[in-house]
Amino acid sequence: MSAPLFSTVNVDELVKVYDRRPVVRKVSLELKAGELTGLIGANGSGKSTLLYMISSLLPMTSGSIRYGAHTYADHPDRERLRGAIGWLAHQPFLYPELTAVENLQFFRELYGSSIDLDGVLDDVDLFEARNQRVRNYSRGMLQRLGLGRVIIKNPTLWLLDEPFTGLDRQTVERFMKMLEATASGDRLMLLVSHRMDLVARLCKRVLILSRGHLVFDGPVESEQQIQQLADERF
């Protein structure tokens, strides 16, 4: 386990305007290490855009994001910063023509990691299927392999964008266990999902976006509470 690169992410008055249409409107928030934060909002509320900006792949119109002490622009080692941000979306970012092992081997080279692949494959429960082409994988297996890819990267900041889409109940359970196991105390995690129940179970803190505004930022206890908040604020 490499040491985390930063322990907080500070988003300050973040604005993103697409085609002169504001998508994210002056959003300010803070992510802390060891905390799994949920982000919910209706379709088109700006969640993905916010996530993209936090991932450093999308420049903002105004405002700033600080990773620890630095923003992306003035970071002394941008490559290392990019390497410290992991993204797991419902597309797994894998090559269907290659086998699971080949995929992971490639990403291990890319990320410059020296982790033991068999261990990772074991972690995500794909050791048996490691020599199958990813093309033939089921949705759940793909998603798990995607998680394996992020584990290899071992990022400081985890961005989980709808990781449960298309997974059946059982797989979701297994997936969540893996997530909880991998999320050690010094990592930052942001989970975007439509599944209020899962957000309620996994996250102590929830952010709600509505039409680009951050309308709620606070602790939640139960699914009903989130549901109620969502009904009020969406």
């Binding site: 305007v17 002169r20 994001i65």
Partner: protein, 263 residues
Amino acid sequence: MKRFRYAYEFFVVLMLLLFAHAFYWIFLHSPMEAQMGIVQKIFYFHVPSAISMFLGLSVCAGSSVIYLVFSRRKKGRGLWAGINNFFVERRDNVDALARSGAELGLIYASIVLVTGPLWGRKAWGTYWEWDPRLTLTLLVFLIYVAYLFLRAFAAESESRKRIAAGLGALGFADVPLIHYAVQMWGGTHPNVMGKGGGGIKDPTMQAAFMISMATMYIMFGLLLYTRYSIERQQVELDRAYARLIDYELGEPPVVAASAKPSQ
């Protein structure tokens, strides 16, 4: 255009006067050339158009490079950081300038490509000759038509602007290459830009040429400024529109009148 209204109108009037003057000098006052006769007079607007074309395209290329290089705000006080932030704050303007430059360059390129063959028909006996300079102009024309295509057929997003800027810069970097490549073909285009005055010795011809040049450059400047102002005002208009929609939705405006990009 609003800020410099009087200066602007002054230059419009100046340009019109010069235009009339140039007309007189070109057609009535300057002598006929011995070899080519009347068609030589094309030269008086062919050459300034060609120069204006390259001016327009270099404006586009220069702005494109600036757009690519200065993309994020820098901290610090140094000269470089200062220049950087100056341009980063004016990214929209730089982009608008690139677009205006390309459009104008293309208009002048059309003029060059029209007047050139008129002359060529008389002087060479053919409208088109695969001469280095002609080929160069044609290729540059095509590259920047592609540039405008790229801008026309894609939504106005940040990445798209950057791609267009990439093409704007690369297309211009291509110019010397095309120049050398086609030069090796061997050519027939008179080297008018060679030595001072372009081989014209007759003072009347020189004067006509200079007046023509001045008219064309002022016209170029005016067109560029007008086109650029339109781009700028469109931004303002869109912002006002966005704010109006915000108000109608009952939300406080996010896009301030002077939203400055940062980071």
